[in-house]
Symmetry: C2
Subunit: 419 residues, 2 copies
């Protein structure tokens, strides 16, 4: 086998992640690296923390990326908080709710779940009633469920958890940077974001934030590594009354000491990915958070207009739709994978299938970050129409792009989208 230079085809990536990376982010990654304790680099680390606080809408001290893909951030928060036997409540409305339960179970939690049908979200009062009944240490749930394209309202659940002194941990991997999330206002104690979705940064980092309520739990389990620990560290560990976090790599008490002023060596920060994240966050803040959310909603509207004009049906309750993921029911008699394959092979357009009970039943189109732009929406709709015609699907021909262009011809002023 000979290995040629990297040659990749051009793609229009319209999945719910990973999505196209902003060219500015790609350029940032080609910057020569710095050593991890170089003051020029630790300054960049601090800048990223401050940018994350702004994007998360939080004044939390702790906001930094975990060096791994999104689920590393989810696991870092859960495994650092959960001790064996702890009760955790996970309301599930799609695949990634199941992921939360899997992680909690592995770390010895007593996991309680409630489920609602895929394609719907919970009435917050139902979740609050369950929380009152179970009285868990932690309520963990997904905000934007990419598997079903649904978004769960959170603020009442957050307030109820705070009142009952229960920790509220939220997976916002698919929504951060695309729709509004207010960590502090919604009483979220710990939150995990993703890079490869609405931030348009490659996969490989997971930005998280958590407050003093979680820090208190973590600190009681703190352990400094032998080989670098001081006499004082070892003394204070003798008082440790809570079991050590199982994972070393994902132990937030250690990550804190690396991101905090002590700068205690843990891992070697993923330099180029941090450059990427910094540039991705800078783009978000330059665009403006509210402007960015409006842009996502605007292109979603254009996409939906085109899909419905084609005569295709959306999947899921419209009232709980996640702005950044649009799910389409596969028309009767159409081979969903043949359509996806032809879209990719002939047009270079990638859309997604779904998981588990929804596999083969829906297609999912993402409108996230840099992929969420006019030419991508127009091209995807035209490609989808052509491929469906080729597959003899019973669609309305020639109307999709017209409907989408109608939306685009409406005057669009950022931060004041007609809805």
């Amino acid at each position: 086998m000979t290995f040629t230079e990297l040659n990749t085809p051009q793609r229009t990536i319209m999945t719910p992640g990973p999505v196209e990376v902003d060219p500015r982010v790609l350029r940032a990654m080609s910057t020569p690296i710095l050593g991890q304790f170089d003051p020029a680099f630790t300054k960049i680390m601090n800048e990223v923390m401050e940018m994350l606080r702004q994007v998360f809408k939080t004044s939390n001290k702790w906001a930094f990326p975990v060096d791994g893909t999104s689920r590393s951030g989810i696991e870092a928060l859960l495994c650092s908080v959960i001790e064996p036997g702890d009760k955790v409540l996970v309301p599930i409305f799609g695949r990634f709710g199941h992921l939360l339960t899997e992680i909690c179970e592995r770390y010895g939690a007593e996991v309680h779940t409630i489920e609602c049908p895929w394609g719907e979200v919970f009435d917050q009062e139902v979740v609050i009633e369950e929380i009152k009944k179970i009285q868990p240490k932690v309520t963990a749930m997904v905000h934007g469920e990419t598997s079903t394209g649904c978004m769960q309202p959170l603020e009442l659940i957050g307030a109820a958890c705070r009142e009952m002194d229960i920790l509220f941990i939220v997976d916002a991997v698919a929504s951060i940077g695309g729709v509004d999330i207010r960590v502090d206002d919604w009483f979220i104690d710990g939150l995990i974001g993703g890079t490869q979705k609405c931030l348009s940064v490659p996969s490989g980092m997971s930005p998280i934030t958590y407050n003093h309520r979680i820090e208190r739990v973590i600190s009681a389990r703190k352990k400094v590594e032998r080989g670098i620990s001081t006499e004082e560290d070892r003394k204070s560990e003798l008082d440790m009354r809570h079991p050590m976090v199982k994972s070393n790599y994902l132990d937030l008490s250690m990550l804190q000491d690396y991101w905090g002023p002590r700068r205690l060596n843990h891992h070697t920060e993923a330099t180029s990915m941090l450059y990427a994240l910094r540039e991705g966050l800078r783009i978000v803040l330059q665009e403006g958070l509210e402007e960015r959310f409006d842009r996502h909603a605007y292109h979603e509207r254009a996409l939906i207009a085109g899909i419905e004009a084609m005569g295709l049906d959306l999947y899921g309750e419209r009232s709980s739709k996640l702005t950044t993921v649009t799910c389409i029911k596969v028309p009767q008699g159409i081979d969903p994978e043949a359509v996806r394959g032809m879209l990719l092979d002939e047009f270079g357009v990638e859309i997604a299938k779904s998981f588990g009970p929804l596999e083969g039943k829906i297609w999912r189109i993402g409108t996230m970050g840099y992929s969420c732009r006019k030419e991508n929406i127009l091209y995807t709709l035209s490609a989808l129409e052509a491929v469906l015609i080729r597959h003899n699907a019973p669609i309305k021909i020639g109307q999709s792009l017209q409907a989408t262009l109608d939306v685009y011809s409406e005057k669009y002023t950022p931060n004041k989208v007609t809805s």
Copy 2:
């Protein structure tokens, strides 16, 4: 706080990692990304696996990167193999031996250790005797210990473990791509490499390999995630007689299914980092493994000549010196951090301190990958001499570069270095 464009100073990075990234690798990272299940991308995943096999000198089926920094790969292998109560023997000869014990303990192993003084390595027979005594399930040890600059011979230990049916897991983070490692010939069952050292790829991935002996252990603990598991998966899990791996993110039974033909969604592969790793491995294979090892040894010789001509003393037994890390004793009365600070501030040259008992006692200079080149060696020595003169250190002046140039004026033919 306003966030400007990324502006980084130019540095000459001569630490034992992270080191300068090869410019070809930096360029590869600026390639637009592909979706994770795009056939053009899964082909790249397969290519990386094959390249890793060649670099690791193994015919193992499994050779792929874990998406995290080096210790994520170490933890992935250890946590996937170790079940609570398992006996693990860790021979320790520096900081990273302690790290292995920390990880094993967290996952419930009964950890046995033997230690030798920092700056030395073990006589293999001593380790083998201990293995015979303890009869562990796993022997885990470091190959190249960056904290002390020592390299442990492994082949006899590997052969003994194989004979006694004990698993042998090796941390080769600091040595892979810089010195010879023969996974199959040395009977290594599982091995972890690092990207940010001799491969000259940024930190953020950890390439690992393991054989069928480890795969057998992992498979008995296999669990497919709810939300994507099939009826068949759930049936076969009923037979699961071994406890599930604690970590989801680092569970190799799941990573296998993602890197293998089933391509079962686990995480979203870190696309740009994989491009980087692919290009880094391609550079290694183009240079040639033996030629690369010789180049590292050649520049090490040039560096040592310069250091000794300056009148500085090396730290550690010369016979067990790791080619890619050179440790220098800080001369009496010299403030080690002031010297490092001036090297960085005035010359843009970064060298490292060490950890724990060696902190403040030695400096460490890395000669790894792309950083391991003539101009870097010459510049570092001239900077070090100037800074030490400035600090009134009792060194021989004007002789260091002459000695190094003498080494460089010897005829150097790759693969045939005069030693």
